[in-house]
Assembly symmetry: D2
Amino acid sequence: MFFASDNSGIVHPKIMQRMVDANTGYAMPYGNDEIMDEVRTQIRELFEAPEAAVYLVATGTAANSLALACYTQPWQTIFCAQYSHIEEDECNAPEFYAGGAKLTLIPSDNKMTPDALAAAIDHRAGGSVHMAQSGAVSITQVTEFGSVHSLEELRALTAVAKEANLPVHLDGARFANALVALDCTPAEMTWKAGVDVVSFGGTKNGCAGVEAVIFFDPSKAQEFEYRRKRGAHLFSKHRYLSAQMGGYLTDGLWTDMARKANANCARLTAGLRANGAKFLHEPQANMIFASFPRAVHQKLHAGGARYYVLDGDVATGPAEEHLACRLVCDWAMTNDLIDQFLSHF
Amino acid sequence: MFFASDNSGIVHPKIMQRMVDANTGYAMPYGNDEIMDEVRTQIRELFEAPEAAVYLVATGTAANSLALACYTQPWQTIFCAQYSHIEEDECNAPEFYAGGAKLTLIPSDNKMTPDALAAAIDHRAGGSVHMAQSGAVSITQVTEFGSVHSLEELRALTAVAKEANLPVHLDGARFANALVALDCTPAEMTWKAGVDVVSFGGTKNGCAGVEAVIFFDPSKAQEFEYRRKRGAHLFSKHRYLSAQMGGYLTDGLWTDMARKANANCARLTAGLRANGAKFLHEPQANMIFASFPRAVHQKLHAGGARYYVLDGDVATGPAEEHLACRLVCDWAMTNDLIDQFLSHF
Amino acid sequence: MFFASDNSGIVHPKIMQRMVDANTGYAMPYGNDEIMDEVRTQIRELFEAPEAAVYLVATGTAANSLALACYTQPWQTIFCAQYSHIEEDECNAPEFYAGGAKLTLIPSDNKMTPDALAAAIDHRAGGSVHMAQSGAVSITQVTEFGSVHSLEELRALTAVAKEANLPVHLDGARFANALVALDCTPAEMTWKAGVDVVSFGGTKNGCAGVEAVIFFDPSKAQEFEYRRKRGAHLFSKHRYLSAQMGGYLTDGLWTDMARKANANCARLTAGLRANGAKFLHEPQANMIFASFPRAVHQKLHAGGARYYVLDGDVATGPAEEHLACRLVCDWAMTNDLIDQFLSHF
Amino acid sequence: MFFASDNSGIVHPKIMQRMVDANTGYAMPYGNDEIMDEVRTQIRELFEAPEAAVYLVATGTAANSLALACYTQPWQTIFCAQYSHIEEDECNAPEFYAGGAKLTLIPSDNKMTPDALAAAIDHRAGGSVHMAQSGAVSITQVTEFGSVHSLEELRALTAVAKEANLPVHLDGARFANALVALDCTPAEMTWKAGVDVVSFGGTKNGCAGVEAVIFFDPSKAQEFEYRRKRGAHLFSKHRYLSAQMGGYLTDGLWTDMARKANANCARLTAGLRANGAKFLHEPQANMIFASFPRAVHQKLHAGGARYYVLDGDVATGPAEEHLACRLVCDWAMTNDLIDQFLSHF
């Protein structure tokens, strides 16, 4: 019963098989392998972006930091949600890669709102040399609270950025989970909505460690290549990254897995709701922020369930006190395990 | 006939199988997987270093840059051979990770010499605040010219460093190839010879993408962990790095492969020598720098051989003119392919 | 009627004279001048800190950034008030000098509070490698809103920092104005209150361009010297910095000027209050944040007054609408000019 | 008898007087003072560059580092002479400001040669992402060995840079000394010779601490302003920088002083030559690298002469052994002091 994260499950066997299949003969290193040529084509087609520059790296933090660095000068600030991954969980990697740039946090209970974003941008406006200058806007989809921006919401945010002439990055570590939740196309959720560059995640959705960085403006390609190499993120045996991404994108495996993960989450949500749990945010993809009595947490812990309790001490305190927790479902979670989890209520 | 590099061949099937075997159930992310516990134990035993701090990253440049950053302040300089990998082939990654530190190049035709190193250190001595201060010494083993420092040579270099109170890094992208060439123990080639931190390569010797960074002084552990995360080199699904390294180190596979690569190189060297090729450096591991007539290069190219010609134009010029080239043998190279290569002379 | 800032007035003639006096014969460069020896002694005596390491730089941003960099690793975050100078007015200099570190903003309407600081530190606590680690706490005295932390308030803040084992920096660009407002000693407002390093401003209080950085822990001295040189802030003709600081500290000139500036501010405050102005913050040193009717602003502008209007359009709008502004008095402001300003009400 | 450097003498009284004269009334801060407007005009006229972007900073290292950062990406390398100031005497400031860029040293006994520069650029050519990419070429005029590139030599160097499409920076810490040695115009020694940006020194030639950075391509202006502020090199009370530069440029004071410094050097050179000293480099401006017997050094030291002995121990060794030293003459050096120096031979 592992609900702690979607970064701890297995690689989909079909993806693993692609790595095994790729393990024959010599292949050009550093992204010049033939599988990468196929992957580039796959992604350009999927995103209806025949000119897009497409690159692979192995971690989500690398994807975010390198993408943002291409759009942010060291004297600028990146605008992001207060609880975004780039702020909370990347140990200053975005600042490092962008040469000491700042992150400006948009206050947000759940999703970043256009008004809050506009206020933050306004605060930096005016051109004084003393202030951090405005750089990229980074939007997270699925958010760290398990929410999904609708296409309208996305477009409203990018409109604020465009109004200020700022580029837009999408942190899509859970891109697939959002896409299937919205039932839209990759193009609709990215460039058609005003996104300039996307971190297109694979790792959390069934790959071993691969993320694509997709620039809809290919003029950023050369700079990205230098930054990737200088960041030590250019793989010599690149074919094993390519193979993962190739397997991920073939025959809709990536959306199948995301649909399964979201369905697992929906089943768990329904069960929690039926058992009186409260929800801090309405689950929209594969993550749940819920609270329920300490006594249930205690039973779950005793039963071997693994997940993050956000506050409070599970072991000690009133049995009926509600404690909040985060529950994440990956594609490999089974109905049996979910039901087993729910049986502790 | 791929002799361009040892970064383009296949992963050893046993290592690939370990990745497949690891692909079951949930595993703790970010280096807390159980396989990593085994790998740590394996490496500590191999290096006779029960306290060593052991980490995995996916690229050699990451291993070098992160290791050096832990031993170099931004206002210092790293001493390295003129044609070292960190100077020539890492696109300023060491400077980036060390916060803008400098690389001071030790003039060297082949191996760095103690005298040349001492002269460079002396030039920086004296404590003036105006000059870059002295930081780590980085030694490459196998060198970029295919040479192997003897243990005496290594100790003479580290003695110069220790005399100046400087830490020593070993770039061991081809650690195994050097080890079997010297027929010594890992401890003898590292901490017993005065090395403080080693980049212990796996990628060039049959892994998909994994390098260990081994600190013999575990007090650097915490800093490394922050630097690795900030560099975006901490893998969530870390077990697939662990599995590679675990397979690599099991039952002596790593030295078996290195021995095979070196033997391949020796066979090719002997054949080249018999055919009148000249050697820029005496091959000691799995890399050859040789020159032979343009006409032979032309035949090899026509025959599909892949390798780097270092200077001159293969297509045009006197047939008998010698052109230098680099030839690298990995463990998977076969006698047949070597003989096929030699048949063009 | 220049009330825009205290960075635009003249240098006190006695300080200018010290620069002229210093202009004779050869002097050792780079801080080894004899005047600097005197300054070091003066500052150590003033601060009752015989071991303190004392350095001069020419700008407040340099003082802050270099001081903080000595106490903050690149993977850490500096805790500071939401509207501090280091956040709002230094164009990412602190991030630059600290190698890409982060600033964590403590929400504050006026002064940073211990509770808000503790909450921010708690949020970062726990040691996860994913998050920015906790670095220095930076307190501004006088704050950017013209407030002065009492000694009790200062000690309460540093107690929170010390509880978390974090070093404390004091941004004292207006150190003298705060000191005379509190009527305390330099030691009481710094190391006796738990401050580890202080940016001791001279520029805003009658010097041409000089700030001292004072480390109460002299073990930071060597690192600061490298950082200052690497930042290009080590002056060859250092005696002209020393002479300024020497003149500033001689015969209490520095506190005389601060007292005069604060008195100027008090006179202006009283006049504004008598005329019905509202105060956004209670003025405690030499800065006023007040609001009064647009019609008055219009008369002041027409009369040649220079100051920052914080929001709204002076030219257009209801005459009676209040607009907020910032008014700063330096030591050279005269009663006549203040009264002239007030005569527009 | 202070011959150690031209950074230790007095400020020219006329320049000091300009600072005193500027000390009246309020002035706009941060470079918006009226004196700066005049300085900008003066420099544009002097350099026959009506569009040039002109900025002032207080140290030569700031001028060099900020100028170079505007022309060098973090993944690039700056080409400079082996013994240039930016390599030897700036404690990694250029690397710091350029975000971790590299310096590639052009081997040179005295002046950088076009062939050596071309060879270094060629070594980096080819576009491989693995290598540091080619950035700016930095030429020092007067060189650190007291040599002056002729206009032909300058043009030959910049031609090599332009051939490779690289920008050219001139480190003119001793710009005036070179200019009067060549008897040419500022334009001839800069943009007409292919220079894109120049560090125009004042500090070593009679100012207290001021250098101009002059961009002949004004499109770099905005970036420089952000970099200067972020580097903490933007002065609030900027008028005192402006006043220095204004005085320096008025009525040819700057060239008068340089002519005097060079004449002092010529007198000392002639005297040394007459006394049998040997010259490591032929003095062409205001610096001498000469060797003469230890016994003379001993007499000079006893007589109070101050200068750098480059190697060897003055106190101990054969009296007749030659020791090399550096002797620098500033504008304020007198014939009497020179003759007094020579009287020790």
